[in-house]
Symmetry: C3
Subunit: 283 residues, 3 copies
């Protein structure tokens, strides 16, 4: 990340509320899980104010929630946010600034594991995207099997390139499984954020609705379609479709982690992050 | 296949005419081939009442017809049905109930061979889908290069998942070659049957017409486009596009066969089939 | 190429102006490069009258221009033509008729290298397609990241199959990266030339405009979108998307060259070319 991209990085992030700089405590509950006993559908809500920055603790709780849902044979999962304006702003960059070696490794490994569990979940998944969804937020949404987004004012996209970051292969694969290759190449080389109307047009989201309640309803309707589908056959069919991206990351976790660590530990990346942190304090 | 899916299985199949339970004799002619001497186009008609259930004999005759057409350097093939309401109901499940080891092996191997010959045929192919086309019926249609379907009341789809069955990789590949990956994943995890309007919208069929005569005409028009295209270059270009799915099955025939045999020989699958057979007798 | 396809070949090519049969001299300038100092965008113009037939010299100059642009860290490239009716008619067939072994090897190798450099360029690329664009002309356009075409009277497509030629795998891959697999299979097995309206509908071109000036403007607008995107991240993201086709050719250059040489040296291909050359002289 060079100075120019750092400036851009700041400009973009200033559009969303100030990051919560307080360190998380182990007792914080960043992920809430509510199981509907009638339908067997779990609603998983990210609730780390103000922007659901994906830090180690949130990811650990999300990963753990996915494990529990796998164990409970739930009928489906809706992923959403407690914020009225942000689904998730993506990775919490405080995890990358002057990182402690052990923590930053755990951070990226937990992101990998969370994606493997979400992308390859045995139960059907839908995202109720009730706010902005850049970068890692978009990744989580793309990993679900259906996307309903609240419009028209929010945006979604894998905008890593805009920030001087190359979206890892599994981010790209998640996008390629959803939109046409041509659209995915343009979206990712531009690091483009899409309006809900644009996202709907290229298939990046499946439906656009007016508010969160409708998003939840539409997500429930999608999941309900599977209520009459035998679970085992459905699960194996899904995994068969998603096998290549899942196997790639399973086989390349170490190399993918090292690529991230090399990137984060570049002096110019650290300098960029420092400038960004300073700009936040001066707001 | 569990009890719940067996019930579903029965409900779905009851919507189509009762299966012909009589055993086939070697002299039955389940596949009719008519060659148009003017155009060089062969019309291959499946004619095993009432629903063109794909049993060993029908598949052997279809496989044999494809061999003969390869040998005769025909200019194209139209695949259709003699039934006014069903293109093909898919695999004949009587082949799977208390199967004799040799016959059930021959059954699946012949299905594999038929698909390899149809999907990789040197001549252009079109399906005139003049009735319902679930599961194996849809597979045959997907393996052609063009699909014209009679609408609006018939349905088409790979609905194996609904029946508790995982569509083999080559079924999935046949679908993925025709519609977008996103649509293919949803279609197969849901085991969804599409109306002709829905099928047209996602590209699962190319044209929807009012009756069989029109379907044949449109199929002929598609094949006629190739009359000015050099055969060898066309064939090699087609095979280049279809190489991966074809090579996969060629290399994995044995493993794919064993997966099928393991599935069929599960006690719960046999019990499911027994209940289904009983339900047919009581109709 | 048989007689029938040779006749077709002639009929098609007669629609475009007579080929320049004069041998090129080393001093001919077939490729013009203009760098806009304000935007950092280079306009690369093919200018080999009458139809920008891709001969060894044009390809060498194009390859060399791409090298220089890589070295100069340009912000983008627009590929266009000096002809008012033809973007490029594709490979110059005089390179294939009674070819000298060294020259024909250099010819195909240079085409390979040019494609590798264009398809994998570190800078963003756009084609301003201001005329007919068959075969190799279409390949160059497909290798760019955006296509603006002057309509409505020009046509574009990989029509090799019509000429009895199998488009090499990397030609096919270039098409598959741009349009849906189903559309690509039909386009290539038919060797179909598309009108601008048809090309726009399936995504083969991104925009259709009324004249070359507008095509250049739209191409500039596309490239300008990248002005705020960090170069290194953009480049790596692009290469990640295009890795498989690029790696395939890099690994299979020799085999791909031999396939071409075997084709060209077939007596019937040479006879077909001879008939075609004769037909040109008689025009």
């Amino acid at each position: 990340m060079n100075m120019a991209s750092t400036t851009r990085f700041c400009r973009i992030l200033r559009q969303i509320p100030k990051l919560n700089r307080q360190y998380s405590s182990a007792s914080d509950k960043f992920v809430d899980v509510q199981l509907n006993d009638d339908t067997g559908v779990a609603t998983v809500t990210m609730q780390r104010p103000p922007v659901n920055g994906l830090n180690l603790e949130l990811l650990q709780q999300l990963s753990s929630a996915l494990d529990k849902l796998e164990g409970s044979k739930c009928n489906g999962m809706i992923l959403t946010s407690s914020s009225p304006t942000v689904f998730s702003a993506g990775l919490d960059i405080t995890e990358m600034y002057k990182p402690k070696p052990d923590r930053v490794k755990a951070f990226w490994s937990t992101l990998q594991d969370t994606w493997l569990k979400l992308y390859g979940s045995s139960f059907p998944t839908a995202a109720a995207i009730n706010g902005h969804s850049p970068a890692g937020g978009c990744l989580l949404a793309l990993s679900c099997e259906y996307r309903v987004m609240v419009g028209p004012k929010f945006t979604i996209g894998l905008n890593e390139t805009q920030l001087g970051i190359v979206a890892p292969k599994w981010f790209q694969d998640s996008m390629r499984g959803v939109i046409a290759p041509r659209q995915a190449e343009m979206a990712l080389t531009l690091g483009r954020m899409f309006s809900t109307a644009e996202a709907k047009e290229i298939g990046l989201v499946d439906e656009v609705v007016a508010d969160k309640a409708q998003a939840i309803t539409k997500a429930e309707e999608f999941l309900d379609k599977f209520s009459s589908v035998p679970h085992a056959a459905r699960k194996l069919t899904k995994l068969s479709f998603r096998r290549e991206p899942l196997e790639w990351l399973q086989k390349n976790k170490e190399a993918d982690l090292n690529m991230f660590l090399n990137f984060v530990n570049q002096p110019k990346v650290q300098m960029g992050l420092e400038l960004y942190m300073a700009s936040l304090k001066n707001k």
